[in-house]
């Protein structure tokens, strides 16, 4: 990729991120109440979207060989287990990632 292409991608991500933060102020900053359906989606859509993004992360899982699915499954379960146990973001993320790296590099 050229520097310009990288810069364009970063700029798009920055602009869209800012837009999601600015939109409520633009739409409702003058004292209007947001419609109830917006509040409803604001409350229940995020957990659905996180589930969607987890499926996205696992989109390239393959069942042709154990190396295509086992590392992701084992490390994923480890992250959930660690987080239920210690509730420490850093421990869960770094621990799970190191386990995954060890599995793909050394085991499978």
């Amino acid at each position: 990729m050229t520097t310009l292409q990288i810069a364009a991608l970063v700029a798009v991500m920055a602009a869209v991120t800012f837009l999601t933060r600015a939109l409520p102020f633009l739409l409702f900053g003058r004292g209007g109440q947001p419609p109830r359906v917006v509040l409803y989606l604001g409350r229940f859509l995020p957990p659905a979207v996180i589930a969607m993004l987890i499926v996205y992360c696992y989109r390239n899982t393959s069942f042709a060989a154990p190396g295509g699915w086992a590392p992701g499954l084992i490390a994923g379960l480890a992250v959930v287990g660690l987080h239920l146990w210690k509730k420490n973001n850093m421990l869960s993320i770094v621990g799970g990632t190191i386990l995954y790296m060890a599995l793909v590099q050394l085991v499978f």
Partner: protein, 232 residues
Amino acid sequence: MNRKTLAAAFPHTVPVLMGYLSIGVVFGWMLSAAGFAPTWAALMSAFIYAGSGQYLGVDLLKSASPLGDAAFLTLMINFRHLVYGLSMLEKFQGMGWRKLYMVFSLTDETYALLAGVSAPEGVNEKDFYFAIALLDHLYWIAGSILGAAAGALITINTEGIDFAMTALFLVIAVEQWQSNARHAPVFLGAAGTLACLLVFGPDNGRFLIPALAILVAGLLLMRPRLEGGGEQ
């Protein structure tokens, strides 16, 4: 903003300091491992400033994603910010030019701090909010640069480091699961997305577009049940 304000704000931001340094280091390292110069880590953290958004950004840069796909995915992942703004409308009133920065820097962590703190006696409330937002942003930039520099200097086999993004989303999911009494949206999200993945295939993440349509439609259909079942 003066030293007194910074000194008052700093203790409140220590948990974010720890969190942002570590999550930022992992982000910087991932970006280095994907072959991008540390300058990009610094620029992304300065101008995008979104944890999970930037983890996803590494993926988008690595796969040279088309701009439209990048915009859509970024929108998806940052959708939750729409809710934060709603509860900050009053807090940010009368902050002048700094309001723009407050809106830009409204991350999950800064939101959580601002929602819970109040300025001590003798410290201007708006300066105090601004100091918290600015400190958090600096921690994030510092962590990213540290991680990117480490990734550029230390050459170990980094295959699999991109799993950090999956791990981050799993952590968010566990926390949402524990703070919500209703889990139907989680099952809807997983099943709807999986169905679209099977039908459309994994390329460029485009299956997320029909998946999102299914999620919104599904949630609207479930509204009487989810809303009617009493508050959590």
